[in-house]
């Protein structure tokens, strides 16, 4: 096999894995949108906040340290202990569930039955609020997230594939972290699908998404389901936060990855879990391949920044419901 062809394959593989990370963020959007019709602008910030919280808890940081010091004139920053990864993840999950409850109790419970645009605006407010809380709670410095995920390229893959090409081919370069992210994403998606298809709560979630009155009449508590959905979105945000945080450090620009989820959702449709996955993969592979085949040789590179959005624009024009979204039918 020619080296060029093999490089092409490597580009596709790397694109697939980048796509997995996009899909992870998009998944959080889909969950909330399906169950409550809310387009949650805060999803990216939730990923950031959960990563901040995880990093903070692990290093034994005192939450709201600056605030406490400013008020009481103290000078405390750390508890002086380190929390093991697993315990810290569980604690972070607890924080995300509390956050979900607060969101439902103090914001969306009062907005039931409002126009989608109002709910959307509420989530924008929520995003900036949460960003501020994250800053106040854990400080604004960049943190490393050392949860013990492997870093760097996989030598094993490189060795195993180096024989495929000629002398100038050194084997596929695959990031180990991307491989872990892929496996985690597969488990997460399988879990979410099993949950929504086979459990009573999952069925209730689909029911609430469909018709509030009918859901109430069969004994489903809307508030409970909404807290559950926001908690699940919090879980997905945490997983995305860990993966992105381990890749590029926990910093406030992390919340911008939410923007990358938008083209993914345009492609996959806002209402489909498999759509979010496939959409993420298409965007991931598409932008890497476009850069490799057309962008770098002919357009001067850096096409990865805009390719996804152009693709999304095309979809908006020709297939606005996405690949897998529910068809938009207006009955007259």
């Amino acid at each position: 096999m020619s080296a060029d062809f093999l490089y092409g394959i490597e580009v596709v593989l790397n694109g697939l894995m980048a796509g997995v990370l996009y899909a992870l963020v998009a998944l959080g959007f889909v969950l909330i949108y399906k169950a409550s019709g809310i387009f949650n602008y805060a999803q990216g910030v939730m990923a950031l906040f959960s990563a901040l919280t995880l990093a903070g808890i692990m290093s034994g940081q005192v939450p709201f340290a600056h605030l406490i010091n400013a008020i009481f004139g103290t000078d405390i920053h750390y508890f002086g202990w380190n929390v093991p990864v697993l315990a810290a993840i569980i604690l972070t999950l607890v924080v995300m569930v509390i956050f979900a409850w607060c969101v439902q109790r103090f914001v969306f419970r009062h907005l039931v039955g409002q126009e989608p645009i109002i709910l959307f605006m509420a989530t924008i407010g929520l995003a900036y609020f949460l960003e501020g809380v994250g800053d106040l709670m854990w400080g604004s410095d960049i943190k490393t997230l050392a949860v013990g995920l492997p870093q760097g390229g996989s030598l094993w893959v490189e060795d195993a594939t180096s024989g495929l090409g000629g002398d100038d081919f050194y084997g596929f370069f695959i990031d180990k972290l991307d491989m872990v992210a892929t496996v985690v994403a597969i488990i997460l998606v399988a879990g979410l699908i099993a949950f929504s298809q086979y459990t009573k709560q999952g069925r209730a979630m689909r029911a609430v998404a469909d018709d509030h009155q009918a859901a109430l009449s069969v004994g489903i508590s809307l508030n409970f389901i909404w807290v559950l959905v926001w908690s699940l979105a919090g879980l997905v945000a945490l997983v995305a936060g860990i993966m992105w945080g381990a890749k590029s450090g926990v910093q406030f620009s992390l919340s911008l990855i939410a923007l990358k989820a938008l083209p993914v959702l345009m492609l996959g449709g806002f209402t489909s879990i498999p759509g979010a996955i496939v959409g993420g993969l298409i965007i991931g592979v598409g932008e890497k391949l476009f850069e490799y085949l057309i962008g770098a040789p002919f357009l001067g590179g850096a096409t990865e920044n805009w390719f996804a959005y152009v693709l999304a624009l095309l979809f908006l024009v020709f297939r606005p419901q996405g690949l897998f979204g529910e068809r938009i039918i207006e009955r007259v």
Binding site: K200, R206, A207, D210, L216
Partner: protein, 272 residues
């Protein structure tokens, strides 16, 4: 409250028991409008109780009070001999009160089978994780619930459409699926809001037969709202008549039919 609540057996051999639900001086206001004005009546175990009245009489509001969708400003709801505290609709549903809606409230995107399965919500006890991984007990439970749902599907003769998404069904069948979902909960009290509205004669006959069969075979107590007087008179054991939020009649179909106030409300009366 009720003068005579001794159990008896109807002509066609159905058991009518004591008072199951007792509504006392219910008043419901929307702003300045009184939709229900101090109405009292009861529903007895095993009977078919009809609520009739002209449009805007407050019948649906009454049903919404019973099922917890509306909270009356005054009055008490007694269920099984106990005063019911203010409850949310889902809590009422969990107490064994199922209902259908005048304008059909189904999960349009889900299949007929899934729709009816949601009615079994209260009958699933195993935990979330066990259900997700399809563990032994959860699977047994799921199978039992499926069997119960299949029985109802057979009963209502909707076998052919069990996999069809509800959104694609015609109106009459949707009404039937909604009834199926309510029945799946195995309710003690079934509330039907105009189960035959918009149906042709044949569909109405089918629906009447189902309602009678449900009452007869499962012993389910039924309270229903209906416009078609013929249907009401054939189906029900006792009838409440409402007009402009007031109760103007209460009794057996024959008693109600001969009540002058009811006749006036339905046929109009000359004002001179």
């Amino acid at each position: 409250m009720t003068a005579d609540a001794t159990p008896y057996v109807t002509e066609d051999g159905r058991q009518i028991g004591g008072v199951m639900m007792d509504l006392r001086d219910i008043t419901l206001r929307f702003g300045g409008v009184e939709a229900i004005k101090s109405i009292s009546f009861d529903i007895r175990e095993g009977e078919i109780r009809a609520i009739i009245g002209p449009n805007g009489a407050g019948k649906s509001s009454m049903l919404n009070v019973i099922s917890g969708f509306y909270k009356p400003q005054e009055g008490e709801v007694h269920f099984r001999g106990k005063k019911r505290p203010p409850m949310r609709p889902y809590q009422v549903a969990r107490q064994g009160v199922a209902r259908t809606f005048q304008n059909i409230a189904l999960f349009e995107g889900m299949s007929v089978l899934d729709n009816i399965m949601t009615g079994r919500m209260g009958h699933i006890k195993s935990n979330m994780l066990a259900q997700a991984i399809w563990a032994g007990k959860a699977q047994r439970e799921e199978n039992e619930n499926r069997e119960a749902v299949e029985r109802i599907i057979d009963f209502l003769e909707i076998q052919a459409i069990r996999k069809t998404p509800v959104g694609r069904l015609p109106y009459g069948l949707k009404k039937r699926v909604e009834l199926a979902r309510a029945l799946a909960a195995e309710p003690d009290l079934l509330l039907l809001d105009e189960p035959m509205a918009g149906m042709n004669v044949e569909e109405k006959e089918d629906m009447s037969r189902f309602i009678l069969d449900v009452n007869d075979e499962f012993g389910t107590t039924i309270a229903l709202i209906e416009h078609d007087m013929g249907v009401v008179m054939d189906l029900s054991d006792r009838v409440v008549v409402m007009d402009y939020g007031r109760k103007i009649g209460d009794g057996t179909p024959d008693e109600v039919r001969n009540n002058q106030e009811v006749i006036d409300a339905y046929l109009g009366v000359a004002h001179d």
